[in-house]
Symmetry: C2
Subunit: 242 residues, 2 copies
Amino acid sequence: MTKNCEICPFSNNPAFVAPSKQECETVNLHRIGEMQVEAGCEILAEGSDPRRFFTLLEGQAMRYHTLEDGRRQVLNFLFPGDLIGLEPIMLGETSHAVEALSPVSLCVFDRTQIWQMFAKMPERAFMLTWQVAREEHFLGQALISVGQRSARESLAWAFVSLWDRGQQSGMVEDGKMPFPVRQQDLADALGLSLVHTNKTLSRLRSEDLVVWRDGVLQLPDRDALARVGLVDSTVIKKRFYL
Amino acid sequence: MTKNCEICPFSNNPAFVAPSKQECETVNLHRIGEMQVEAGCEILAEGSDPRRFFTLLEGQAMRYHTLEDGRRQVLNFLFPGDLIGLEPIMLGETSHAVEALSPVSLCVFDRTQIWQMFAKMPERAFMLTWQVAREEHFLGQALISVGQRSARESLAWAFVSLWDRGQQSGMVEDGKMPFPVRQQDLADALGLSLVHTNKTLSRLRSEDLVVWRDGVLQLPDRDALARVGLVDSTVIKKRFYL
DNA sequence: CGTCTAATTGAGCCCGTTCAAGCAATGTGG
DNA sequence: CCACATTGCTTGAACGGGCTCAATTAGACG
């Protein structure tokens, strides 16, 4: 295995059940290889035939769907350790696109690997389902935000959630986290217009709740911002249990 | 197995891979039993300890989350064949409630059954993951709607989506489908106010696009409504493939 | 016949939208 | 080295979709 494999759900992570020697070999068998992608490139294209899926090893990405008339909804932001392209394989149709937000490195698997996992590596398969369930949870949270929260609350919620996700995946250093996103992307994630996002954001900035410059995010008072965003304190354990 | 078991993902469904004799026995072993719930009752309580999960055999239900201040977001509506309470077990925390919309019958499983499935019945485990992935897909679609569509488009989208779901689960008869929901529930699902939902709905009614009376829904022109709601024609196959 | 819940309709306001202009940083070609 | 285009951020002004408040109606139930 190469660099960063410790965050791959199919690899050996202390947070997860350790794979056996045999499992490792089987994984390596179906592991097509690693892939580097530049910022701004499409990792997954809307409507494409689902053949492979990926583990995001380094960098950040964005998953979105575009309506016929051009309106776009960002579904979520992806962090190291996240899976990409599993849903399309399960459902047989790629209904969203994934774009790299920074230089990204991916671990590439063939779709046949999925069944191999279920057949021969139940712990890996369980792990995989756990990831899908977690993503479902995040989508639900986003839906709550877009549906019920005000613009100010939504922004606050988004920053806190992203911050917490960033910490879980080890992207926060010195109280700073890379967040290479345009305001337009954030607006599309929250169902707001660019203009209003900007104005609401500048208010949060003037209150010293958010510092976001040059693609780097800082939250001087994460808990205060969480209160603004009505973020419930539910913590998702990294470790799943049976 | 008792009535309606053919729709249970853990049972023998022609759309799915048939379970072996041994699988059937193992499922029955962990199947706690059947449960009947009246309309309006809570099947799953927010914050409860996740111990069991269910298959919805008959009737309809609603999954929602409530914010501290009372605002409520309906996450989705549940149809026969859907799983209930799997996400909480996987993630260790029940962050949403599920309420019966009609008299409901459920098949009850113990949470230990999940691991049994991964360990001994890979086809069932795969099936289960497929269900989670499908639910993730629907949540994504809902997020797109709430985030990008206008009230009119949202309503149209919702009716068409529910209609299609209803047809897949065999709830449509004579061009009619039971839809035992208050306007308030629909409003909370779409992030709209009750008043605006009502006014938009009455417009759709006057255009003969929607007929919804006494808990029964009819769509005289499903395709026209789909055009109003910008529903993409992507069809999720009932049959998954490997 | 009073009470309760759900649907309906009107009036007025506001949050978030669209339109529009300006600015700063970066890049590109002559 | 400058002219010019491009991309993203910022800000002002005005409109409007959807909100809140409020009152009425209709049906179900005791």
